[in-house]
């Protein structure tokens, strides 16, 4: 078995006349939880869509479970997709079906499971995402956060080996966020699932990530463990992690300089703490009792 579940090499993609991904490289190991962070509109969702094969690269390759998704035939891509769970940013529930049918859809259509087993699985997955008594509701009757969680239940209904989450906790309250974080952690521990999580929530990123990658300027600008992220003196990473308005990320694109990663032996001149933005520790909250 190959060490890397996902191997992206020099992925380029233009959309609507804009170079969204520019020679992006990314490797994700088996069993790892990799968190992608980055500003809105930098191409996080686009990256996930390349991994699942919904978008084809302009150039470069994206290999998942040993299959190159850009060149795969439909049948090959479907074989790979059966092993992947995907949570859409919008949830993407089928509006014409109730919650139960939505979650059961892949089980009924593709796995062709017997009906009692389908219902048991649906119940179990909805429990996992902390939803109760919603089976017969239509997606339009649910709140945004509930729709997201139903989408999550559907994504994990087939017990995938790899799960891609596009902002699983956006629109959730702190308790719901913690529950989803727990879910992601337990998927890693109990089921050894490989996971990629796109998120804007730095606190939950720190909690769940084995490694964090910052998407900036069309590529993965920085990768490292949560600890690396705090230690780095890179100005771009620093600006993002601490949510500062002024900095290289917000400069006019024409003037963007290349900031190099550097780790000088002496402590950096800019002190990391006295920033007006809330320190990450404050965003942390204890898990629900």
């Amino acid at each position: 078995m190959p060490e890397h579940v996902i191997e992206i090499v020099d992925l380029c993609k233009s959309l609507g006349g804009k170079q969204v991904l520019n020679r992006l490289c990314l490797q994700v190991r088996r069993g790892e939880t990799f968190v992608i962070i980055g500003r809105s509109g930098t191409g996080k969702s686009v990256t996930l869509k390349h991994i699942i094969g919904l978008m084809k690269p302009d150039s470069g390759t994206c290999t998942v479970f040993g299959t190159e998704m850009g060149k795969a035939t439909r049948a090959e891509a479907e074989t790979v997709r059966r092993r992947i769970g995907y949570l859409f940013q919008s949830g993407a529930l089928l509006a014409s079906m109730n919650v139960e049918d939505n979650v059961a859809l892949p089980l009924r259509e593709i796995e062709r499971m017997p009906e009692d087993q389908v219902l048991r699985t649906v119940r179990e997955k909805l429990d996992l995402v902390d939803l109760d008594k919603v089976e017969l509701k239509m997606p339009s009757e649910l709140s945004g956060g509930m729709r997201k969680r139903v989408g999550l239940a559907r994504a994990i209904s087939r017990n995938p080996e790899l799960v891609l989450y596009d902002e699983p906790t956006s629109g959730l309250d702190p308790i719901g966020t913690a529950a989803i974080d727990e879910l992601i952690l337990s998927m890693k521990k109990k089921l050894k699932v490989t996971q990629i999580v796109v998120t804007h929530d730095m606190a939950s990123a720190r909690r769940i990530a084995d490694r964090i990658g910052l998407l900036y300027d069309g590529r993965i600008y920085f990768t490292g463990t949560p600890a690396d992220l705090d230690e780095t003196t890179d100005v771009v990473v620093h600006q993002f992690v601490h949510g500062e308005v002024a900095g290289p990320m917000t400069e006019k694109s024409g003037e963007t300089k290349r900031y190099r990663r550097q780790r000088p032996p002496t402590p950096p001149p800019a002190p990391p703490t006295p920033h007006p933005a809330p320190a990450p520790e404050k965003q942390d909250f204890p898990p629900p009792a």
Partner: protein
């Protein structure tokens, strides 16, 4: 100006291509139709019940106006009895399938485009792909088969009502009794007229649903894109119905 027309031309050829590819793929999925039987029957029910009331009015007035027009002309030679030949033949061969096609394009084809288009712009079709559920099998197959089957049924209904409409005008205005009318109808109507009409209906139904679903699948850019897809479905379906009506008539009667 010329450039704009050239662009539109390319776009419409693309659209034809997309529709044809979708139709071919759907036909390849026919062996799996059994799995989608419930969905197909549900779609058929929606198509049929949606179409019935309008079809009744359209069928009735088509038959009546045919009888009235030909009746006035034939009256000059004292041949108004001939409407019992003209009206049923025109209804069964032409008016029935074409009018049904128009009704279905406006009622059902547009609905299909809106439905599938909305699914498309809200990432639902991508969600199907991600679950490795083929959207052709899941969305196109039941819809296209349902309309292909409903169109001939609805045509028979429109034919019957149209023929009755002709008889009604004959009885009220042209002094032609129902029995004479029925006798002429049964004597002269050929099997070929009936099956050519039903063949047309089958083709129209297939085309309308293929156009609707393929336009929906190509819809881009939110609610506006869905609206455009709906409008295009109706216009394109009307054009296809008229073109294929000519082609099929020529093929059957040459």
């Amino acid at each position: 100006m010329i450039f704009r027309y050239a662009n539109q031309m390319v776009a419409s050829i693309e659209g034809i291509g997309h529709t044809l590819i979708l139709l071919t793929r759907t036909l390849l999925w026919i062996p799996w139709l059994w799995r989608k039987r419930a969905e197909t029957v549900a779609q058929m029910a929606t198509c049929a019940f949606g179409g019935f009331p309008v079809a009744m009015i359209v069928g009735m007035f088509s038959g009546m106006v045919l009888a009235l027009q030909s009746g006035y002309t034939l009256q000059k030679w004292g041949q108004e009895e001939l409407i019992a030949i003209v009206v049923p033949a025109s209804m069964v061969r032409e008016m029935g399938p074409v009018m049904t096609g128009f009704i279905l394009a406006g009622l059902v084809g547009s609905t299909m485009a809106a439905e599938v288009g909305t699914m498309n712009v809200s990432e639902e079709i991508e969600a199907l792909e991600v679950m490795s559920i083929n959207p052709v099998y899941f969305l196109a197959l039941p819809r296209i088969v349902a309309l292909a089957l409903v169109a001939p049924l609805l045509t028979i209904y429109v034919d019957l009502i149209g023929i009755f409409g002709g008889a009604f005008v004959g009885d009220r205005i042209l002094n032609l009794s129902y029995t004479t009318y029925m006798k002429h109808t049964l004597d002269t109507l050929e099997l070929k007229d009936i099956y050519s009409g039903l063949l047309k209906a089958l083709v129209f139904g297939t085309l309308i649903s293929s156009v609707g679903v393929s336009q929906g699948m190509r819809a881009r850019g939110g609610a506006e894109g869905v609206g455009k897809a709906t409008m295009r479905t109706v216009v394109i379906s009307f054009v296809y119905i008229l073109i294929f009506d000519y082609i099929l008539t020529w093929m059957v009667y040459q």
